[in-house]
Every structure is written in structure tokens, then in C-alpha cells.
């Protein structure tokens, strides 16, 4: 028996046949919908409807956040399809952009390294309270008989011949020629280079000389002095050119030949100009950076001690010769 008045097919069922088709509900919903649509279109982003939407968005934010969190690991999968279906123009454009970014990356890497080197120089200048000017190495030696580099600062920048040049890790050399906008720096390893130096731990003084082979040799150190491999060699400040205490290198070999008055000491320099681009030219020394009277006295004492040892050695040799002549 049909119980519905909505024009449905007759049924013997008991369950749903009492329900209407929802025509009245449809009319009501459509009217409300159109009213809401009209009001929403007219009011735009203001009014109670916008406030209701805003409140709904706020309430449902945790669910959206949850969905975003769960979906984030899989979000890249969509790019696979996009990449596979990308046309040639898109790929070419991306390739060009990639090249530009790669070049830019190299440029930024260079800038970062330069900044790091300059920071090292600044740290050095602050640590030693150096009166200095920064310069850039612009070329190496143009001949085969000197070990020099050129820097981009000259007399117009206050750089003059004789001024010491240092890098962050240690002394580089000394300005030997200065033009208005460039200067030539003789490196430590040059054959004609000679710097007053001392062993940092034992305060033994000597002269650090370059050589044709590029090795640094610490001379004028007597065989009675204590020098060990690994000792640090720094500038002594004697001569008034280099500030006292700048690092020069590290002792790598100490030999004492029979009958020799001096130790044969080889030093590995800390600085390698070929690996530096920025240096500091020390333009003047403060009073504290120069050797003190005690340093000079110690150097004289060490020199006198060496002379005495040589004299004794000479006396012994003369007596031995006389004995030989006598026996003959």
C-alpha cells in the first residue's frame, strides 16, 4: 500500500515511503542559497557573511594544518608529472636559469672566501695593532731570478720601499719598489731576502734568509743554542723594519755539522704568496712593536758568545797545527 503522496512508484516497503521528495525543502534551500549568494556578492569581503567565513576559517585551521603536515612529504610527487610533461622551451629556460644560478653561486663563493681572507687580515691587524693598508696581489714575478709579487698599492696610498708586507698567517715579504699605484714585494723565499728573526720559545735570535731552492734558513744561531724541530720563528724587531712578534714559519730541520759554529736550521714559512690575494702593508711601527733595549742587548750577548766560541775554536786549531809541525 503506498503511503507516500509524492508520486513515487508504489511500494510494499515500510521504511522510506513516508518521505517526501523534498520539493518544499528544495525551494526553501534554493531561496536561501540565492539570497546568500546575492548578499555575499554585494557585500564582498565585509559584513556578517565575511565574518562568518572568517570564523569558519579560524575554527578549521587545525584540520588544514594537519592536512598540510601530512601532505608535505608527498608534495614533490606532483612535480614529477610536471617535469615529465614539460616542453622543450620550459626545459631550455630552466637550463639557462640553472647556468645563471651556477655562475652566481661561484661568484658568491668567491665573495665569501674573499670576505674570510679580509676578516683574517683585520683580525691580524687588530691583534698586533698594526698601522697598515690593505692591498691586493695583482701579479707574480715577471722574471726567473727573483721571487716577487706585485700589489695594487703604491706611493699614492702611502706604500713605500722597505715596508713589511704580511698576510693573515704570517709575513709575506718586504716592499722593494714602489710606483704611484703599484709596488713590488720581495718574498721571504727570495734569495736576497733577509729578516731578523728569533725562536719564539727560547728567544734565540738569528737571520732568516731565503734561498734559490725556496727554502728558508735561519742563520747566525750558534751550536750551543737550543733549537728544536717544530719551534715557531717570529720576527725579532731588530732593525726597526718588521714589527716584533709576527709569525714567520716553523722549524722543520735542525742539523749541527762537526766543527761548525752555527746550526743549520731550515724553516717552513707560514705564508705562501701564491695562495694569497689580499695582504697588509705595514706603513709604520708603534713604539711597542720595535725591539727593546733588552732585545738588542740579548742579541749582542748572543753575538759575543758566538765570537768567543769562534776564537776558542781558532785557538784550538792553531795549537793542533803547531803540535803537528813539532812532531814532524
Amino acid at each position: 500500500m503506498p503511503l507516500s503522496s509524492s508520486g513515487r512508484q508504489p511500494r510494499s516497503a515500510l521504511s522510506n515511503s513516508r518521505q517526501s521528495t523534498g520539493g518544499r525543502a528544495l525551494i526553501a534551500c534554493v531561496v536561501v542559497s540565492l539570497a546568500l549568494f546575492t548578499a555575499s556578492s554585494r557585500m564582498g569581503d565585509e559584513g556578517p557573511l565575511a565574518a562568518a567565513r572568517s570564523a569558519f576559517q579560524t575554527v578549521t585551521t587545525p584540520i588544514r594544518y594537519l592536512g598540510d603536515t601530512v601532505a608535505s612529504p608527498f608534495r614533490g610527487l606532483g612535480n614529477v608529472v610536471v617535469n615529465l610533461t614539460a616542453d622543450q622551451a620550459t626545459l631550455s629556460e630552466l637550463q639557462a636559469e640553472n647556468d645563471q644560478l651556477r655562475a652566481r653561486n661561484v661568484e658568491l663563493e668567491e665573495a665569501a672566501q674573499t670576505a674570510e681572507r679580509l676578516q683574517g687580515l683585520l683580525d691580524l691587524r687588530d691583534a698586533y695593532d698594526l698601522q697598515s693598508t690593505a692591498a691586493r696581489i695583482i701579479s707574480g714575478s715577471s722574471d726567473s731570478w727573483s721571487t716577487t709579487v706585485s700589489i695594487d698599492k703604491g706611493t699614492s696610498s702611502g706604500v713605500n720601499a722597505g715596508m713589511p708586507v704580511t698576510a693573515a698567517s704570517g709575513v709575506v715579504g718586504q716592499v722593494v719598489e714602489s710606483a704611484s699605484a703599484s709596488s713590488r714585494v720581495r718574498l721571504l723565499t727570495d734569495e736576497n731576502s733577509s729578516i731578523s728573526a728569533m725562536i719564539q720559545s727560547s728567544r734565540v735570535q738569528g737571520m732568516l734568509n731565503g734561498s734559490v731552492t725556496g727554502q728558508l734558513k735561519l742563520t747566525l744561531v750558534g751550536t750551543d743554542q737550543q733549537v728544536s724541530v717544530g719551534d715557531v720563528v717570529v720576527t725579532s724587531g731588530l732593525g726597526g723594519v718588521f714589527p716584533k712578534g709576527l709569525p714567520l714559519g716553523e722549524v722543520t730541520s735542525v742539523e749541527s755539522s762537526p766543527g761548525a759554529l752555527e746550526l743549520d736550521i731550515v724553516v717552513e714559512p707560514y705564508s705562501h704568496a701564491e695562495s694569497y690575494e689580499e695582504v697588509l702593508v705595514i706603513t709604520s711601527l708603534t713604539e711597542g712593536q720595535q725591539a727593546t733595549a733588552d732585545d738588542i742587548a740579548a742579541a749582542d750577548a748572543q753575538d759575543q758568545q758566538g765570537d768567543d766560541a769562534a776564537d776558542e775554536e781558532g785557538t784550538d786549531s792553531g795549537e793542533q797545527a803547531q803540535d803537528t809541525e813539532t812532531s814532524e
Partner: protein, 192 residues
């Protein structure tokens, strides 16, 4: 004989509403087909309309559309209007249409999805949300319809096979429907 458990139907509707709400807010924004996004409000209203129909289906469609409007940037009432009408159409002929008839269910829902998406996006075109009718139809309406149909498949399978089978072996749901072939025959007669 059909035996309806209204409390069970209501519980099922509430659970379905919550599931679809969560999917609409959490899944739909993160899973797209081009510009298309799945419309779980349509899925919910279609399920209710095909299961219960009548006033309940229309009201469910209206409320689902209203929630969809609130969660989107579209003018309020537009999707509510679309889903009210589609729910009315889907629930016109008989109740529990999904039970045991997956093909017919999918066909009906596909038609509803295409219709709702087209009307919605054309309305958006008219209110100036988009500029090109081709964009509105090809790049927005069709992907949305297709994606919604795809996401409706598990729901249709559940209601047509799993839930119907559970009712048939002694569950509290409606029983005694006309078998799998009847709805398909009606679908053919109506020319859809």
C-alpha cells in the same frame, strides 16, 4: 520488506559528514588535478541523497554546500544552491539506490559531478572570478569533476557492496531491495 533504522542512518550520516569535512579541509587542498580540486561536499550530499533522498538529501546538500562555500573564496550560497538541486535530483526516484548497484551509482554521480562543476564554474565566470569560458570549463570544471568522481569510487564501493552486504547478512540496515539488476534497468529507462 524494508526495515529502516533511523538512528543508524543518522549516525552514518554524521560519520560521513565528519569524514567528508576532514577530507575537504585537509586532503582536497593538497591533492589537485591541474586546477581541479575534489569536492567532498558533493560526495557527501550525493551519498545522502542516494541513500535517503527527499528532504534529508536536500538539506544535507544545502548544508554541505554552505560549508564548502565557507571554506572557499566563492560567494556564499553558490555551492549550496548547486548541491541542493543536485541532491534533489539524485534523490528523486527511490531510496537506498546505492545498495548493490555500483555502476548505476557511479553513472548518476558522474552526471551530477559534471553538472555541478559546470554550473558552479560558469556562475563563477559570470560573477567575474575568471575571464575565459575555456579556462572555466576545461581547466577548472572538468578536472574538478573528474577528481571528484575518482574520490567518490571508494564511497560508492562501500555503500553499494560492503554496507549492503553487511545489511544483507543480518545488519540493521535496509533489506529486501530489488537486486543488482533493477536499478540499472531503471537507469536505462530514464535515459541517463
Amino acid at each position: 520488506m524494508q526495515v529502516a533504522d533511523r538512528n543508524r542512518d543518522m549516525r552514518g550520516t554524521v560519520v560521513l559528514a565528519v569524514v567528508c569535512l576532514v577530507l575537504q579541509l585537509a586532503l582536497a587542498p593538497n591533492l589537485g588535478l591541474g586546477n581541479g580540486r575534489a569536492n567532498f561536499a558533493l560526495i557527501f550530499s550525493a551519498c545522502v541523497a542516494l541513500q535517503s533522498g527527499g528532504t534529508r538529501g536536500v538539506v544535507a546538500g544545502f548544508l554541505a554546500g554552505l560549508v564548502f562555500d565557507l571554506s572557499s573564496t566563492a560567494p556564499l550560497g553558490l555551492m549550496a544552491f548547486c548541491l541542493s538541486v543536485s541532491s534533489f535530483a539524485l534523490g528523486l526516484e527511490q531510496r537506498n539506490r546505492m545498495a548493490g548497484d555500483l555502476g548505476t551509482t557511479m553513472a548518476l554521480f558522474s552526471a551530477a559531478s559534471l553538472g555541478v562543476s559546470l554550473v558552479f564554474h560558469l556562475a563563477m565566470l559570470l560573477v567575474g572570478q575568471t575571464n575565459s569560458i575555456l579556462d572555466a570549463i576545461i581547466f577548472r570544471a572538468l578536472p574538478t569533476a573528474v577528481l571528484t568522481i575518482v574520490f567518490f569510487v571508494p564511497f560508492a564501493y562501500y555503500y553499494s557492496r560492503v554496507r549492503a552486504a553487511g545489511a544483507g547478512i543480518g545488519g540493521a540496515g535496509t533489506i529486501g531491495r530489488g537486486g543488482i539488476g533493477r536499478s540499472a534497468a531503471r537507469f536505462g529507462r530514464r535515459g541517463l
